[in-house]
Structure formats: C-alpha cells, structure tokens
C-alpha cells in the first residue's frame, strides 16, 4: 500500500552499516504516521544473514534480493524499483551515504517521484515534510513534498538505531536485471602511513581558516607545544598541504581523542562524522554561527592568528 515504507539497508564488504538500523527507525516513523507497514529491503551479498540482523522490532517484512556480492547501482535501482512497485510502497527510505547518492536519485527518476536527500527529520501529515539543513548547516529548513510517493535519504546519526528482535517474514526474491554499464573492479584502502591520528590522545586539527600553506607552521607549533598530533579537515588534504592519513571525517578517519582542538574548521556534517566522539571538543573560529560550536565543549570566537600564538605562549 502507498502508506507502506520501504527501507533499503546498506552493507559493505560483508558488514551491514549502522545507518541501516537508523533508516529503519525513520521508515517506521513514516509508516506509523501513515498507518502503513515498514518493509526492509536488503540487496546483494549474504542476504540471509543480513535479513536476520535486520529483523528488529518494528519491521513488518524483509525482502532479500540475492543478486550480486557488493553494491552495484544498476542492481539496487532495479531491485528497489521492482519491490516498491510490487508492494506499492509510498515512502522509500535509504541512507544518505555515498552509495545511497549513487542510486537513490536515479531510482526516484525511474519511479517518477520526487527525492529529498540528507533528511534530519521526517513527518507525514497529508504529505511529507522533511527537515534538512542548508548553507553548510547554518540554517535548518523544512520542505514540503508534493504527492504521496517519494524517496528520502536520511543522514547518519540522526535517528536511534532500531533495536530488539522482530518477527518479520523474510521473503527472498531475485529480480530481473537490466545490463549494467558500470563494473566494480576492486577496492582500495587509502590514507595509510606512518601516523595514525586515531591513536592520538590530543589532536590539533586545522581547517580552511588557516588560509595559506605557510601558515600551517602556526598549528604545528601548537601541536608541538601540547604534545599533540596534527590532523585536518578535507580542504587541507585536497590542497595537498597534509597527507590523506591526517584527514578527519566521513571519507577520512574517525577519531575519538581525549581532546580535539578544531582550528578554523566550520564543522560540516562530513567532518563532524569523524570527530563527534571526542571527549572534549574545543573550537577556535571567527564565525560565531559556525556549526562546530554546536558540538563544542569550549569555544573561542576569535581569530586563530591571534589565539593560536597566545596559546603557544601559554605552554612555552
């Protein structure tokens, strides 16, 4: 029924990713608001084992599609489209992950329905309302979506993971596959090397606010003074100023130091994903509205070029 939600689980190299359970919670919310059921689809890989793990409280049915081993957008798109049509699901929910972004927009096009990505909240009352951020997390918006069918991708870490053990029926079905014009040939781990920022107790982390490569000296001095390790946000690594193994965030490393000192970092969601677990977060930023202050324990609204040297002096 249109009131039903279809949640698509995500896994990589044999492991379900946590955001799958969070997406179930979001899907359950939408199903409840619409008086429908919550279905979960798991596509490719060891679907039987995945189905068992996904059978959490609140899940009404699980659809296992055993085509393929790993993510392939052609398979995902075809499988989810066919399932969505078969059960006539109105709310399709997927993680807002790199793979989610590789097929969900095509799926929405294919189904001829709107898509809203990176949701941090959903509500349904006559129609879908999504809460999402804009302008680098400086503002929150609500958007209304026309029609009773849609694809919504959910941000990781915003919904509690579904827990417990459910009693969903598991149904295995292969789907008809169109030929794929994209072939995965392998995987590569990047960012190895001599330093593992994940091991550090104290990280001094530098962002685009540093301006120029030669200014890095300033934060290096601070790291030395504190006996800390130097890490960075993505632009610093993109510019080639520091190696990839220093990058904190979604596509870099997840770190959980005792102290994380963010210097000239705005706090974009993909950065925060890598450091929000730090015990004590300290931010130095000229912009009082920078989202990094929302997760900081201590904040200095000020110019790093004044504050950092003064801090170095304190420890010398």
């Amino acid at each position: 029924m249109t009131d039903d939600a279809l949640v698509v689980a995500e896994h990589r190299r044999g492991e379900l990713r946590d955001v799958s359970y969070e997406a179930i919670t979001a899907g359950r919310e939408l199903a409840d608001a619409r008086g429908g059921d919550c279905h979960v689809a798991v596509v490719a890989g060891d679907v039987d084992a995945f189905a068992e793990d996904l059978n959490r409280e609140g899940v009404d049915a699980i659809h296992a599609v055993p085509n393929g081993e790993e993510f392939d957008h052609t398979v995902y798109q075809a499988a989810v489209r066919q399932l969505a049509e078969r059960i006539d699901a109105g709310s399709i929910v997927t993680p807002n992950s790199v793979n989610g972004l590789d097929y969900a927009p095509a799926l929405a096009e294919d189904l001829g329905v709107p898509i809203v990505t990176d949701a941090i909240g959903v509500a349904y009352d006559d129609g879908l309302t999504v809460t999402r951020e804009m302008y680098g997390s400086k503002v929150e918006t609500t958007v209304d979506v026309a029609g009773d069918r849609f694809v919504v991708t959910v941000r990781g870490g915003e919904w509690a993971p579904a827990e417990g053990v459910g009693d969903a029926a598991v149904e295995t079905s292969e789907v008809d596959l169109p030929e794929s014009g994209a072939r995965v040939t392998g995987f590569e781990e990047v960012g190895g090397g001599d330093v593992d920022i994940a091991d550090a107790d104290v990280l001094v982390s530098v962002g685009r606010g540093i301006g120029e490569e030669e200014n890095l000296e300033l934060v290096e001095e601070l790291a030395d003074a504190l006996g800390a390790t130097l890490s960075a946000s993505r632009p610093i690594v993109d510019n080639g100023w520091l190696p990839k193994n220093r990058q904190v965030g979604q596509s870099g490393k997840v770190v959980t130091p005792d102290v994380y000192l963010a210097v000239g970092i705005s706090g974009a969601v993909q950065h925060v994903a890598g450091m929000k677990g730090a015990d004590t977060i300290i931010a130095i930023n000229t912009d009082p509205n920078a989202p990094i202050f929302d997760i900081a324990d201590y904040g200095i609204v000020g110019d790093l070029f004044d504050v950092v040297p003064a801090l170095v002096d304190e420890f010398e």
Binding site: L101, T142, V143, A182
Partner: protein, 262 residues
C-alpha cells in the same frame, strides 16, 4: 567528444546574517562558483588539453547574476556556455527533477559524450542532480568520483568512487556517462589574466524554457521550502570571552584540567 560541465552559482552566508521568510537576506549572501564544480571544470579542461575533449560547454540554470560565475568557468577552460533561466524559476526552490528536465533539454541540443558535475551544491546540499540527470537521459553514471581516467577508444571511464572511511571503489563506467566529481580530484587552476580576458569574448547563450521546447509546468517543483530557522544550539559549550591573551589563558587552564596536557 564533447564534454558538458554543469556548474552552479552557490551562495555563501556571511558570519552575521538574517533570515527573511524562507531564505537568507540577499545582503548576507555572497555568490560564487560551487567548490565541487570547480573540480569538474578543471577535469574538463584537462581532458581538452589531453585532446580527449573537443569542446567543453558549461551549463547552468541560474539568473543573470550567474553570468559572473559562468565567466569563471569560461576563464578556466570552458569554450562556451549555456545559461538557462525563465520566470518560471523565479517562484522558488527548483527541485532535482525540475533541474533534470531543464538539463535534459540542453543535453538534447548539445549531444555530449561525457557530463561532469559536482557531488553536491555547497548551499542546498542535495547531492542528487547528476545521478538523476543520468537516469533521465539514459547515460551511465558514477557518483563521488575522486580519480578519473578516460579511455576514449574503449569508450570507458576508469574511475575511483570515494566511499566512507578511506575506502575507494574502482569502477569502469561505459560512456556516455555522467560523473559527479569530488573535491581533491585535481588541482583547480586559478583563472589567468589571459583566461579572464578570453572569457569576455566567449559566448554565453541564454535560453528560456520556450527555447528548449519546455513550458513552465515542466519545471514545476515538487519540493517547497516552507520554513528556515537558525538551529537551536543543543550545546552547553562554555564560550571563552576576552581578548586573545585572556582567552588563551583560560583555554590553557581547561587543557591542563583535562589532564592530557602538561
């Protein structure tokens, strides 16, 4: 082959800003080329230099103001540009499907062999336009590409897709394709004085919906922004006040209290 690069003019919010209705006050916004699209333009320029791209065409859906941003793309190597705009877009937010409709019409006119765009627009952060467009026009695609090599003879793009946690997926994508480009793919060049001068001579073709065989109803958005607010800060952060020396003094105290810094 012809390479089409989708570029968006994005708005950055100043440190102090006000919300007016469902958007930021215009005076508090500064416009520029989307960071991700800068990398897409560079990738196209490099394909031209390698003799793989015969022509690089930049396309944007944007008001007249966006010509400045388009000129940046022209100065960095695009040969000419198409700017789509119409009163129909003035009424509010343009959703992914409406953009795909407008871009589809441009693709039909231009017949590119490769389309490059950004992973996401920095302001609205949808991260969806390229992949939606690919489906619409029947091209293959790959999202979040941080390494790219085109083999024109084989008709294949060898790409790396940057997944989470430092893992890259190696994928061969059949052409024609849409690739959404991640930052760090290359080193975007600065526009040279010569490039900026040359860009003044390059064509920016303005297209309204009717020119593309479309009507306002075709680009009606299913998504409407209904409110914009400053998020409630959930943090109970201690804001350290005072001049740099005083602030540094207090911060030093905090750091020593944590016991991890001597």
């Amino acid at each position: 082959m012809k390479v089409l690069v989708t570029v968006k003019e994005v708005a950055e919010v100043s440190d102090d800003f006000a919300i007016e209705g469902t958007d930021i006050a215009p005076a508090d916004l500064e416009y520029g080329l989307n960071e991700w699209d800068d990398y897409a333009v560079e990738a196209a320029a490099q394909l031209a230099e390698a003799g793989i791209a015969e022509e690089v065409v930049a396309v944007t859906i944007g008001p007249e103001r966006a010509e400045e941003t388009i000129r940046t793309a022209l100065a960095k190597g695009a040969d000419r540009a198409v700017r789509v705009w119409d009163d129909a877009f003035e009424t509010g937010f343009t959703d992914v499907r409406a953009k795909a409709t407008a871009l589809e019409a441009v693709v039909e006119d231009e017949d590119p062999g490769l389309i490059l765009g950004g992973v996401q627009a920095a302001d609205t952060g949808f991260g969806a336009t390229g992949v939606a467009l690919a489906e619409r026009i029947g091209f293959e695609h790959a999202a979040v590409v941080n390494d790219l090599e085109i083999d024109p003879d084989a008709g294949v793009a060898h790409v790396h897709r940057e997944l989470e946690g430092g893992v890259e997926e190696l994928t061969d994508v059949d052409l024609p394709a849409v690739l959404t480009v991640q930052t760090g793919l290359n080193e975007p060049r600065y526009a040279s004085l010569r490039g900026i001068r040359q860009a003044q001579q390059k064509e920016i073709a303005a297209r309204e919906l009717a020119d593309l065989g479309l009507a306002a109803a075709d680009v009606e958005s299913d998504v409407t922004i209904t409110s914009m607010t400053e998020p409630e800060s959930e943090s109970d952060a201690e804001l350290i006040e005072g001049d740099a020396t005083a602030a540094a003094g207090r911060l030093a105290e905090v750091l020593r209290e944590t016991g991890v810094v001597a």
